[in-house]
Symmetry: D2
């Protein structure tokens, strides 16, 4: 029987729920070396946390994530907060000797991302990873394997598109439209996924960027709970062109304004011996 690992979850909204679900399900379907125990969930609202903990089976909850550093039972901290709140708890928990898993994109600024990288390097015993969940999608893993086995040969083209459509003019000024909280718009939210997938599937790195365009189609949005409008400070769409380390060319397109696509994450890889298409 696998040994338990006690998990502290920071964040209990969209991604908090998604990770709680993953923690509930993983031992049902995979043979694990460590069995996750839903130990504690941290967030801002004690009442909501109590309901969350009961529903998902966490033993306890707290509004002080800082205390997790001193909880000796905690083995793994899973960070599911908005992008600008990734760095502080991740670094603190690494310094406290915990393993850390963090939601993507790693951070809202390059500076914060670099600080996190440095903290991870310093915490030699800690394991870290970023939640690029599509790597665990069986079709993506199979594509990765096919490339690794040489079935595709030299990669000529990668075309990656991540298309959503919830960002129309009726959508209010959520935190996802504020640069301070989100860092960027479709770029960090969606391009982050397909850049990671392209690297994972090809096994190559991006070595050059040949141009990019960011666009904010909807410049003002209603501030939630008011009738006033505020400025959207992030991109609605970002496209860019790149070269891969093996000499291929790649294009990336991420957008929140591409009806009728609701969550169309697609990657096409065209190679010398074979081509692959992933369409989620």
């Amino acid at each position: 029987m696998p040994k338990p690992i006690h998990v502290a979850l920071i964040g209990s909204k969209f991604m908090g729920r998604a990770h709680a679900n993953a923690l509930s399900q993983v031992a049902h379907f995979f043979e694990l070396g460590l069995e996750p125990v839903k130990h504690v969930v941290a967030g801002r609202n004690a009442k909501e946390l109590a309901a969350f903990a009961r529903k998902w089976g966490f033993s306890t909850h707290t509004t002080r994530w800082q205390d997790l550093a001193r909880d000796e039972l905690v083995g793994l901290v899973d960070v599911c907060t908005p992008n600008d709140l990734h760095a502080e708890p991740s670094i603190a928990m690494l310094e406290a000797g915990k393993h850390v898993a963090c939601e993507k994109p790693l951070a809202g600024t390059l500076k914060a991302a670099r600080a996190m990288r440095d903290a991870a390097r310093k915490a030699k015993k800690a394991r870290t990873f970023v939640w690029y969940n599509y790597r665990r999608c069986p079709a993506v893993a199979l594509a990765h394997q096919f490339v690794e086995e040489g079935r595709v040969g030299r990669v000529y083209h990668v075309r990656a598109t991540y298309l959503q459509s919830w960002g129309g003019p009726a959508t209010p000024l959520l935190w996802r439209f504020e640069k301070g909280a989100a860092g960027s718009g479709a770029h960090g939210d969606l391009n982050a996924h397909i850049v990671d997938m392209a690297r994972f599937v090809t096994g190559e790195e991006i070595v050059d960027v040949h141009g990019a365009v960011a666009r904010t189609f909807i410049e003002e949005r209603v501030i939630p709970g008011t009738k006033k409008k505020g400025k959207s400070t992030v991109d609605d769409a970002v496209l860019f062109l790149a070269s891969l380390s093996g000499g291929g060319v790649a294009s990336f397109e991420a957008t929140r304004l591409a009806a009728p696509h609701q969550n169309a994450n697609a990657l096409v890889l065209i190679g010398e011996k074979g081509s692959l298409r992933f369409d989620f």
Copy 2:
């Protein structure tokens, strides 16, 4: 009954045949103001021209295209030569007072294209057009009409891809791989079509280019009729990003190395009120 217009065709290879077919068929399916008469075909090889003229029903043929300028019967000259041979006959025939239709891309160099444009402007009575045939594809014409009728609204995204796969390492060094004759590779051959389609369907112009990448994947090819290799001097693939005059963003990708696509010309247009997809 429509009046006749006598056509002189310059070029009798791939595009010469395609245009001869068009001239044979057009009056069977459309009500025309002028009925084309297959009058004369011009080219380099008299024997081949004789066979071509007989097969396609041209009255005569010549190896001296220059003579067409003095043939008073000729109303329309149709230029189907390689890209570097578009400018000279087109300009000469405009100066001789003929209408001129020219294959795409307009020319192999910007200088030649500008000279052709100037000649067309000067020849006030002449009608000219470039053979962007996809405009006449019913689905593309319908897309154009939908946008014009306002069904798409503001255009957010255009994604245009033209994918072929005949340019692998086994393909010899044809004129299409020589910059002198072709001007460019996939760019003039394929991007020319999708740039025209994007402009035609949206009714907008490209106002900015945000980056581009050209790549020659196969750098050397066998010289036809020899065992030696020569250098390919054109691109195998070109991708670029652009802004449209209405504020949308567009991406273009043309490639001769995208197996298994043989002639996949596709345009996706995503708008505020509706989206369109053309997939030839």
Copy 3:
């Protein structure tokens, strides 16, 4: 140079035009043993025939198809009349020693079809064929070849569907809805094609029928040129199940009421070693 064969076309409507087009184009794209000469078109309306002959390049026209039997120039008679008028001219022309090509379905009644077959057998020098045009569609020919080469192995399943949608309640009582003229509805019009394709692609015969259903969804239609309604006497849809000679099972579905499909002719073949899908 190939020898000429003079063609007499009987019928100048939908199929008459389609065949005139084929006769105009075939020598442009195929190397032929005999080159078709558009000699004469026969029909009911002299004025319309004159225009048809001029547009498509037939030398002459006649309202008396019977006379074609005595025209020694005529080598091939091509029958493009409504289904109930296939047998009489086909048999007469076979008896006159002409080759005969006839539109599908062969006839409107089993009795007429058998008489035609007998006449063809008796006319030992005549070549005959029925215009199952999908056999000449390159993808169908390739499917046929793949099966013949053994790439599919034992055939388990054939699923053939031919879906149109022009038969809604607004469509008037054309001859195609009258049993006397048409013989049947979707069955003869559409199932005829897919039954032929299934036989052609698999190389097998239908050896058993396990059930069938015919349905007339729209029972009354407006009589053209009147405000009165008349009874539709043919099926709008026919489905049936069959066994093939190699032990596989096959399903056929033909319908004129399957919006949004306008002309969706599809055949799926599932075999022991491979499967094929044709989607026109």
Copy 4:
């Protein structure tokens, strides 16, 4: 907070696992009137049951399903046994006053199915249902809603296909190929699903069957654990044609020999005002 309902699961293999998963997840995603408690799992092998109970969180386990009738805590019995073992426990538990959910197909024989129906009618306080899980697939529920709202209008055609490919000659003689245990092959396994979906989505009943064909393509299979072959006594494929109560026609095709389809459950509904396509 919802009241608990204690569940007894009979069967711990493929469907046992699937239902244990459903019981674990349902309260995470839906607001429930009763919250399921994983109380007891029953099966044949005590050791396997112990591991199953631990993994999925059942409080206890038993090899004597008969005892469940006397367990007053048990509110709902969920029957996940092979088809020939549905009737006995279902009827016994209904007689003991439990609610009963049973896997599909309801039974392996018509006689057993009728006995179960009668028992359910008699047990007036018991709720019963059969696990046609595709009804809960959001796309199917949406299709059902669209039809109910009148968006499709009169239903002309239903085409339902359920295609799998695991039944090739290499697959041994599992219980699913034995008529005694399974009742039928692809028919009960796969047609059961699409017949239910067709009824659910259209809101109509099958009123007539116009023909059917069953075929056993692979007549002998290796007996597991031996080198001998035994006879497959069920169908590998069943197709049939039907009329719906609203006058439409429907075709059903179920097969275990349709490579490359692994689990292709599809339903097309064509109506007067609109058409729907479900493709799982």
